[in-house]
């Protein structure tokens, strides 16, 4: 693809984001998003609309800020059990640019999640829209396409 894309830097950025979710630090994770940034996990395959169709997650900055506070709230009982994840990201590709010039990066992910004495596996593809900024990036949007979005999942209490 375009020679001007530093894929190593992109890779490094995606790994950094994932590391803030592995041992959740939503404060640092949120700082990687632009003020108009969104996080979207559709509830069906090929979903194209987060507003007129149902999703597991569709957070903008406001919801991210609320979730960040909820995540560490002492009375959120679903958060009494620690959640730990291990993200593996691969097949990272530059898939063009969006209309406003953001980099479109696609990748595959596998996440092993440990929560409530149980280990679960999630897999799928990510699509990141990244704003290039200084020598790094900001996330304008992240879309998480599970391979089984329509399955009956248990609680997912942390972003994948």
């Amino acid at each position: 693809m375009s020679a001007d894309i530093d894929l190593i830097a992109v890779e490094d950025f995606l790994y950094q984001e994932a590391s803030y979710l592995d041992n959740p630090d939503l404060e640092k994770w949120l700082a990687l998003y632009s003020p108009d940034g969104t996080y979207w996990m559709p509830a069906s395959e090929n979903q194209h609309d987060p507003v007129n169709e149902i999703s597991h997650f569709y957070d903008d900055r406001v919801m991210m800020e609320i979730r960040k506070r909820n995540f560490v709230h002492p009375r959120a009982s679903s958060k009494d059990s620690a959640v730990r994840c291990s993200h593996l990201i691969g097949n990272i590709r530059h898939a063009g640019r969006s209309d406003n010039g953001d980099l479109i990066i696609t990748s595959n992910f596998q996440v092993v999640m440990f929560y409530r004495e149980e280990q679960r596996v999630f897999a799928g593809t990510y699509q990141h829209h990244l704003i290039e900024r200084n020598n790094s990036f900001l996330i304008r949007s992240k879309r998480v396409n599970l391979i089984n979005p329509e399955a009956a999942h248990k609680s997912i209490i942390i972003y994948l």
């Binding site: 597991h56 709230h73 679903s78 399955a151 997912i156 209490i157």
Partner: protein, 438 residues
Amino acid sequence: MPLSNAEIARLVEDRRVHKRVYIDPEVFELEMERIWGQAWIYIGHESQVPKAGDYFTTNINHKVPVVMVRDKHGAVHVLHNRCGHKGAKLVEQRSGNARGAFRCAYHGWTFQHDGQVLKIPNETGYDNTGFDLKDSCNNMQKVAQSASYRGFVFATLSSDAPDLETWMGGAKDCFDNLCDRSPEGEVEVAGGVLRYEHDCNWKYIIENLNDTMHPMVVHQSVVQAAQDYIDTLPEEAVKQRSEAEIILPFGGSYENMEHMGITGFKYGHHYDGGKTSIHADYSVDPEYHKRMVAAYGEERTKEIYSFNTHNTLYYPSLTIKTAVQNIRVVRPVAVDKFVVETWSFRLKGAPDTMLQRTLLYSRLINSVGSMVGPDDLECYRRVQDGLHSDASEWVEMYRQFGRDEDLGDRVRGGGTSDLDMRTEYAAWRDYMLQEAFS
């Protein structure tokens, strides 16, 4: 040895239920047979099968597979999803269209959309065998009864169950209110479904619906998290966020919850709210209001809005939110496992903003990624674990016992009473003792 009726009767008193109803696999199996095998169970909405041959599959209890299908004359059937030949499940997909006929993957028998067998390959092999091609036992069998009320399709495996409307009793008003909130008087499924696995007994969720003693405790964290952040925002910015009016009422006081009131009916149905509910202060979209008034007139529109319920349970399988226009369907799997489906509805003739709010609500409150549902589930799980203790055999439901007001076809009580739970267990007992329809 199955449980005797005497043993079953001992599990439920008027103010206490025995822990076995939640943790004993034998009780669960019997519930599947006697509650889920007798009551009207919600299957799906007619709008899920708009065209001839469209189908939707589910299980009526933890096992019995059924298919809801529309035939070429427009009628909707609920059939056992079982081939008339050697019994293979005929339709594997959750939904789709069976063009022309259902065709079995095994030996290729085909069936009309009303279940009637159409063609058997190499039929001559049955000549002079005593096999009767015309015998209806070769068809896909219809369930004992199926019926639809304003598009909501229910089925029962019992031929003794009274007709659907009789069975719903006064709780039927809530379906009317849900549909009347559409300027055209009709709703349709829209935006897809959420499925949420719960690793606990199915009864916790229906006991939780109108358990108004829990939100201010269980959901305090999300309410405070939202409030903390909202406090940092300019007032104008907050007004534009429907999230605020959806999340914050979960922190309502005991007084507010008490004021909603609970109304219980025969067969275990109940709703809370009526005059008011935690959804009563939602802003009204001006365009929506305009269309409502055009359709119904000012007075009737007000009347429709003012019947504001929180959750209405059609025991045991369905709970609806009239003011939000979403429903949750309980699909039991095992004594400690069930799946909840959340379906959102479009009010026909209403602006898109209405459906968008419904979907926002479903996502914020009912999705696996929500900050509300997971805290409810966490508590059910803890009850499931805690009840294995021998410290006590009983779970209590005393709140405001003796203060319920009997109005003949319904019983009314305080919003923070255990009237909802007592209503459910009266029905539980009747179904389990096979006295519900006698």
